[in-house]
Amino acid sequence: MKKAAGKTKINPDAGKINQVLAKYKGNKGALIPALQEVQVALGFLSQDSLRAISQGLAIPLSQIYGVATFYTQFRLKPIGQHLVRVCHGTACHVGGAEKVSAAIEAGLGVRDGETTADGKFTVESVACLGCCSLAPVMMVDNDTFGRLTPESAIKAVKEY
C-alpha cells in the first residue's frame, strides 16, 4: 500500500516489530523468540529494534543486549542478500572444510564474517549443519550443499 504517511515519519520497521511484540507481550520466556522473529523480519537486530523490544516486553535494554550478544544466531549488523554458511564441524574439518572456505573467500573476495562489497553475499563459518555424512557441507540461505570440493562450492555460490 502506497498511502501517504501520517504527520510524523514512522519507522518502517516499527509495524513489524509491534506485530511480534503483540504476540509475545506478557508471555514468560518471550525474549529469545521475540528476538528471533524480529531478526527474521528485519534481517538483523537494529539498535532501534532492541529499544522497541525493551519497551514492549518491559525488559531492561542491558539485559537484552546481554542475550543478543551471547547467542551466535543474533546479529547486530545487517548482512548481505545471501548468507553462505560453511560448516567447520568435526566431520567437515576432517573432510577438508578449510579448502572449501578458502575457495569461497578467494572467489568472493571476502574473509570469514564479511559481506561482499556489492552486498550480495555474507560468508560465515559455522560449527555443524547436521549433514556430517555428506561432509564437507555448506548452506546458502536455506539450501544445503554436500560432498563439496573447493571448485563445486564456489560454483554453487556464484549461481545465486
Partner: protein, 610 residues
Amino acid sequence: MKKATSKTLPKKKAVKKPAAPDYRIVVGLGSCGIAAGGHKVKAALMENLKKAKLNLQVSDTGCVGMCYSEVLLDVHDKHGQVYTYGNMTPDRMPRFVDEHLAKGQPVADWLVKASDRALPDDSFYAKQKRIVLRNCGQMDPEKIEDYMAHGGYQALGKALKKMTQDEVIKEVLDSGLRGRGGAGFPTGRKWQFARGSKGDKKYIVCNGDEGDPGAFMDRSVLEGDPHNVLEGMLIAGYAIGADEGYFYVRAEYPLAVERIKMAIEQAKKRGFLGKNIMGTKFSFEMKIKEGAGAFVCGEETALMASIEGQRGMPRLRPPFPAVSGLWGKPTNINNVETFANVPWIILNGAAAFASLGTEKSKGSKVFALAGKIARGGLVEVPMGITINEIIHEVGGGIKDGRTFKAVQMGGPSGGCIPAALGNTIVDYDSVGQTGAIMGSGGMVVMDDTTCMVDIARFFLDFTQKESCGKCTFCRVGTKRMLEILERITKGQGREGDIELLLELAEKIKISSLCGLGQTAPNPVLTTVKYFRQEYEAHIRDKQCPAHSCKELLKYEIIPEKCIGCTACARVCPVTSISGQVKKPHVIDQETCIKCGNCVAKCKFDAIKVR
C-alpha cells in the same frame, strides 16, 4: 476410464474400490537426502511418471541411515518386495521408470538393498538393531496415520490406561535405559526423583540441542519419526506428574522444527495432546523452543536458562532440575534418543530391552558415522558391539582404502580412540576407560592423513569459543591451551609444551563448574596419551607425520621428474617457482606459502610434499 460392460467384467470387480497401486515409491527427504538433491530427483521422477501411465503412489520419508548413498529411493511392489536404489540422480529417472516401473525389471546396477537378493551393502544392516530408528525411513514422518499404523501411541494408551505412574517408572528402571545425551544417567532413577519432588507444576524438557559438531542422530530422529519422541515425552509426563513439555531444538535444524510442529498439531487433533488425553485424567501441553546457537545450551541448566529467555549460562547443581528446574519447578530433562526408546520399552517390556547389551549398558545406541568412513550414515547397534565391528563391518571400512587411525567419540567432551583399541566394546564404562566418552553418538573416523595434534587444536578452538565465560579456568585456561596447540601446529612448539598442556588440562577439569569445562581437555588428553610421538614430531622435528599441518610442509620439485612445462609456476600465487622452459624448476622455500596449487596442477608427479 472406459466403462466396463457387464459382459466383459466379472461381477465382483464392479463393487471393488480402486485397485491397490502396483508400486509405492518412497523418496528419502531427510536433511541429508535434500542436501544430496532429493527434491530434484523427486521432481524428475514426477516428470517422467507423467508420460508413463502407471498406477502408483509416491511419498516421502526421513533418513534411512544410508546417507553415503543418498539420494535414496524405495520401491515397494504389490508382491511385497522392497527395492532400495542408491545414488539416484535426475538423469537416472527415465531408465528407472521405464525398466522397473513400466517393464517390471529392477535396475540391478543401482540397487543398494533388495528383499529378493543379496547385495554387498547388506552388511550395513546385518549387525544393526533398530529400536529408536525402527520407523525412520519406513514411513512418512509428516503423517500421524503412518505412525499409528506402525503401532504409534499404543504405548501411551497402555501407560495411561493399564499402568500406574510408578509402574511406568519401574518399567523404565528395569529396562536399564541410561540417558543418551552423554552422561548416561539411569533414566528411571531420574524419573523417580522428579516424581518424588513436591509441586503442583512440573515440566518435561526434551534436549534436542545436539551441539556436538559431527553428530546428527537427534536431527535424524526428529525429522524421521517426530511422533515417537513426542510419545516418549508424554509417557514421561504421565509418569512424573507433569502437564507441560518443551521441545528445545537447535536453530540449525529447520526441518526438524517444522516436523515437530506438525506432529504437535496432529497429536492435538487426535486427542493425544491437550486436555484429558485418550479419555483419561491426564492432560498435557507441548511447546517448542528454538535454540539460538550456543553449544553450552545443551547443558541442562543452561538450556533451561535459555528457555526462560536468559543468557544460557550453566549454574551450580544441586539443586538438580528434578527439584528446581524450569522457572524453579521440578523438571525432568532427557535427550531426544532417550525419549525415543521409551514407547518401545513400554510396549515390548523392560526385559526385551534389557536382553540387549552389556551388564551396565542395555539396549541399543544410535551412532552418526562420519569422517573418513566408506559408509557414513546413521546406524543403530546393540550395546556391546566392538568399535572395529562398527567401523569395518557396518561402516564398510575406511574411505579410499586408507588405514584406520582413530575414531573420535563424544565430540568436544570426548576423545580419540586409536585403532589399536578397536576391540573396545561400546558400553558406557568401556568407552570411558579409554579416556573418551560414549557421548551422544558422534563417531568421526580418521585415517592416516588426519593429524591428531590438529584435531586437538580443532576441539580446543571450539570449546574456547563456546565457553560461556563464567569460570576463569574454562574461559582463560582453554585459551592458553589453544595458543599452545596453535604454536605446535605452526612449527613453533617448545620443549615442555606437552607438560604445560597436561598441567592446564588438570586444572581446567577440576575448577570448572559445568561439563563443558570439566571435559574440554579430553581431546588433548587422549591424543597426548595415544599419539604423543606426533606431538613430539611437531615440536622437535618440526614435522607433521600426517602431512596435514600446512606450516610444517615442505614442497620440493624432483628434478628427475620435472620436464619444465611451467604449469606449476603459472599457478603459484606468490611466484615462488622459477626455472627455464623445458628445464627442471625450483621452489623458493623462503617465499612458498604452501597453498598446494602446484601439486594439484603437476601432471608428472614431480612435486614432493614432506
